[in-house]
Amino acid sequence: MPWTQISCQYDGTYPGFLSCVFDCYVNKEEPVEFRTPDDTCCSLYPLRTVVTDQEHAKRVYRSFAKFGAEGQRLAVRAFLTCLPDKELWLWRLIRLGYQLGPKIGQNLTDPVVDKVRKAVWHLEHEAHQYKGFTRFSELDGVLAGEIEPKNRVLPLLRAHFCGRYPQESFVLHDRTHREALFHQPGAGNCAILPVEDFSLGPAGAEELACRKLWRAFYDTIAIEGRYNPKCRMTNMPKRYWAMMTEFQEDYGAALPEVHTLPSGPQ
């Protein structure tokens, strides 16, 4: 007998989603859409509200080990991507995973695996780019930076930046998802927390001098005879530029207020 189709309402967190998976399997129900309490649009399907249960979520999370290394990576990371209806795709992937087991990592031509794999690739690629394109400013001994990613890259950047600057205090703010990575010297002093309002004081003289030096280096290192703006934009799309020191004028501000992209060479 086919499972009843329902609309699933949860709190928007990953444990919440995993609880949905748990409840759907228990009740033999097939979610055809996922909603958060903020969604105002009504649905034609019977609504089931799932209460987040950490124990259930953990059980589902642990069961992903059955998908093999590759499948597990997809199931864990897909929730961080900006794929439209990511919950639905992830639900399909999980169902497929329980059927196929570790083979799911090899089944690259399957439409569901393909969709999720490409979304996760986009997430990982963006995270890798932000490892390079993130810029920090020093303010009273604390390094502060801002990014505007499409995917939720902070969990992927955490190990990188904490491993790189173990002796520094730093904050990395994600504008899109309104959360920030905080780090203080010492092992394990590191957290990703939601942030409502993020603003900092003005930059000091030393910081401004350093920005000036970097801009001078950046402008000098290009060889005029090889000027190739298209190649630069392919490798470093313009959406990253707004946050990068080398494309900013001195505002004296801690971090630049960005409303429009700077007009680079077209």
Binding site: K103, G105, Q106, N107, L108, T109, P111, D114, H128, K131, G132, F133, T134, R135, F136, S137, E138, L143, G145, H160, G163, R164, Y165, P166, Q167, E168, A187, C210, K212, L213, W214, A216, F217, Y218, D219, T220, I221, A222, I223, E224, G225, R226, Y227, N228, P229, K230, C231, R232, T234, N235, M236, M244, T245, E246, P265
Partner: protein
């Protein structure tokens, strides 16, 4: 002199060095230190010429005792000169590194006083960086040909990657344009670094705290287009360098007119051979990742790479008897020979076909670029539906695929009011 001016002069003098990579080594920061490295490397920015900026690429100094004709820092050239003190270069590196501008330091130098003195200066810089600032990021150091082997060794213990520039692709060219440098003087430190690396690897296998000598390997660079060598000569040399000196990379740098020497191409209207450089890099990738040999890519009848098509397509067209390759049966090496299939897609094919047979639709999903590969592949014995091309047609199709990217003159906006006169 202000630090800003020094940075301008010494970055300007270093920019013709093509190598700017931070790959080949995974290392995380230990408590109390700062800095890590990544196996894949990491680009922190891209300059206006489209090249990656990953390391703070500067010279220790641009005062030089040599007079190499192709070099912007030659003794006889009238340019402003400067030198970083070891302390200020370290301060600069650290302040950039903390702000995540760079992945580390690329330290090269012109030869001031003597090779030994220059190397000692570089060692002092790197020692302060590693021991005082406890810097664990990437350091690329240039070995100075002619320096004492013991000094080169100390430099290599502080750096992650080392390089010696071979400069020009043959010794007659070297004798002509760089009379102060000898081929042997370049190859000696290269061999020393190679032996140092393999010895260090053996020691680390026995005792894990043994000092690491250039753990990310060594690379080199040569200038293309300043001298008359053929592509075949350059590729054969490259292959020999990979085989005999176990280099990680060979970089090619299209000659930029920085000098009006009568021995070099005339500077006016000289276009740097960027397309040739691009084709050489493509061929270089075939050598390193695609199991090709230099003799397969080019031979006596065809000593230069075809500018119209990439070297792999050219090879495929000369060896049509090798094709079509059956996607569901071919081994990894054969898949790599198909134009349009790269290392990643070949690996994905190997993985995906364990689940079930692949068709062209599936290949598209895997990310295979079918516009080239379709002519050379069969899926379960069938060519792509509706595809019928003769041998001549194939060449035309493949050339046409690259033609838009090769369109040389940039289109210009016509002006109603042209410049008077």
């Amino acid at each position: 002199m202000e630090l800003l001016d020094k940075l301008n002069i010494l970055a300007d003098a270093a920019k013709y060095d093509a190598a700017c990579t931070s790959s080949g080594l995974d290392r995380s920061a230990r408590p109390g230190t700062i800095g890590s490295t990544m196996m894949a490397g990491c680009c922190h920015s891209f300059s206006a010429d489209g090249r990656c900026v990953t390391l703070l690429k500067v010279l220790q100094t641009n005062f030089c005792v040599y007079d190499c004709q192709y070099c912007v820092n030659r003794r006889s050239n009238d340019v402003p000169r400067a030198a970083f003190t070891p302390e200020e270069l370290c301060e600069l590196t650290m302040s950039f590194y903390r702000r995540n501008y760079i992945e580390g330091l690329f330290l090269s130098s012109a030869v001031i006083q003597s090779p030994d003195y220059t190397t000692e200066l570089m060692i002092r810089t790197l020692r302060i960086l590693r021991e005082v600032h406890r810097f664990g990021g990437y350091v690329h150091a240039k070995a100075i040909p002619g320096a004492d082997p013991l000094l080169t060794r100390r430099l290599g213990l502080l750096a992650d990657r080392m390089s010696v520039n071979i400069e020009l692709p043959s010794s007659p060219s070297l004798a002509l344009l760089a009379p102060d440098k000898k081929k042997e003087a370049i190859l000696t430190p290269m061999a020393q670094i190679r032996d140092g690396i393999s010895e260090s690897k053996r020691e680390v296998a026995v005792y894990r705290h043994a000092p690491r000598f250039a753990p990310a390997g060594q690379s080199t660079q040569m200038i293309v287009g300043a001298t008359p060598e053929s592509d075949k000569h350059i590729l054969t040399l490259t292959q020999a360098l990979y085989d005999r000196y176990q280099l990680k990379r060979v970089f090619y740098s299209a000659y930029m007119p920085v000098s009006s020497s009568p021995l070099l191409p005339v500077a006016e209207n000289f276009k740097p051979p960027l397309l040739r450089e691009h084709r050489l890099y493509q061929a270089d990738w075939l050598l390193r990742y695609y199991h090709f040999r230099a003799e397969e890519i080019l031979d006596e009848d065809q000593p230069d790479l075809d500018p119209r098509m990439d070297p792999k397509c050219c090879w495929a067209l000369r060896h049509l008897e090798f094709f079509p390759v059956e996607v569901n049966r071919a081994d990894y090496e054969s898949l790599l020979r198909v134009p349009g299939l790269g290392v990643r897609s070949a690996r994905r094919i190997l993985r995906a076909r364990r689940v079930g047979p692949l068709n062209f639709e599936g290949l598209k999903r895997l990310g295979v670029v079918l516009k080239r590969a379709q002519y050379f592949l069969t899926c379960s014995g069938r060519m792509m539906a509706g595809l019928r091309v003769s041998e001549d047609g194939l060449l035309r199709h493949l050339v046409a695929l690259e033609a838009p990217a090769l369109a040389e003159p940039m289109p210009e906006q016509l002006s109603l009011f042209g410049d008077a006169g």
